[in-house]
């Protein structure tokens, strides 16, 4: 899907939900969509400010909240009190492996993994809204790096 097409989807959805489509929101959403990495709120703010330095931090946070509730963006805890976001338009659901050495994030997916979680939830009558699976460790490169340069 093309970025402008994705942008239109978000715009249409937000308008339909009674939100206003302001210049700031357009800028923030466009910037978030153009970032294929995982980003922090602060990083998104800085990217937006390259285009318009007057964007405020509060607006970025408020917009991320709206986007998250609308399901266009997902946040994941970084474990140090902060969060990273990623947009999930046209993305299949996936889980994450986080390399402790270089901070890289690897995405993966396994249907059976999802089914098992659903089965476990069903056993205790738990209704799943979302889940977060993160695997921490070292990526191939970081293992090699430590192996050859101890």
């Amino acid at each position: 899907m093309k970025p402008e097409q994705e942008l239109s989807i978000v715009e249409a959805h937000l308008r339909k939900s009674g939100f206003r489509w302001t210049n700031q929101r357009a800028l923030i959403v466009r910037t978030a969509l153009s970032t294929h990495d995982h980003f922090t709120a602060e990083e998104l703010l800085l990217l937006c400010r390259k285009v318009d330095p007057r964007v405020s931090r509060a607006t970025v946070y408020r917009t991320l909240l709206v986007l998250e509730e609308a399901g266009f963006v997902e946040g994941l805890d970084t474990g140090d009190g902060g969060r990273k976001f990623e947009h999930v338009i046209g993305h299949k659901h996936h889980d994450h492996m986080v390399c402790g050495g270089c901070g890289s994030i690897f995405e993966f997916h396994d249907d059976e993994l999802e089914r098992r979680q659903e089965a476990a939830a069903k056993r205790i009558g738990f209704r799943i809204e979302r889940h977060s699976l993160r695997i921490y460790g070292s990526c191939r490169d970081c293992q090699r790096r430590r192996g050859t340069a101890p």
Copy 2:
């Protein structure tokens, strides 16, 4: 395993690692071991202060850090910027379902789930150190509560 036995294990490990075994650490570790729930740093502090009101917040945080690095305690993000801890001595590894309605945490385990994760990691040469799987949603009681009292 008996609590005092667990305490000795922690003491022995920390001493062997070059840490000192102070009254505060003993109190904090004993308190953490006696709590079978998930607790926040603040809750642990309050429990410790029932025994000795002079324990400082900083010492609780510093001790939790040591315990976490030693692998006796695991922290998990609560999703609202904070963390909850649990001691993992004599516990089998398990994952968590977090109820958004009442905050309850349900533990579950599935061997196949673990194997699938290992397989996914192996495919990209990732070495797993630990992982965190949290399922968010509503527990049986909260679903019923909403259903009967809309």
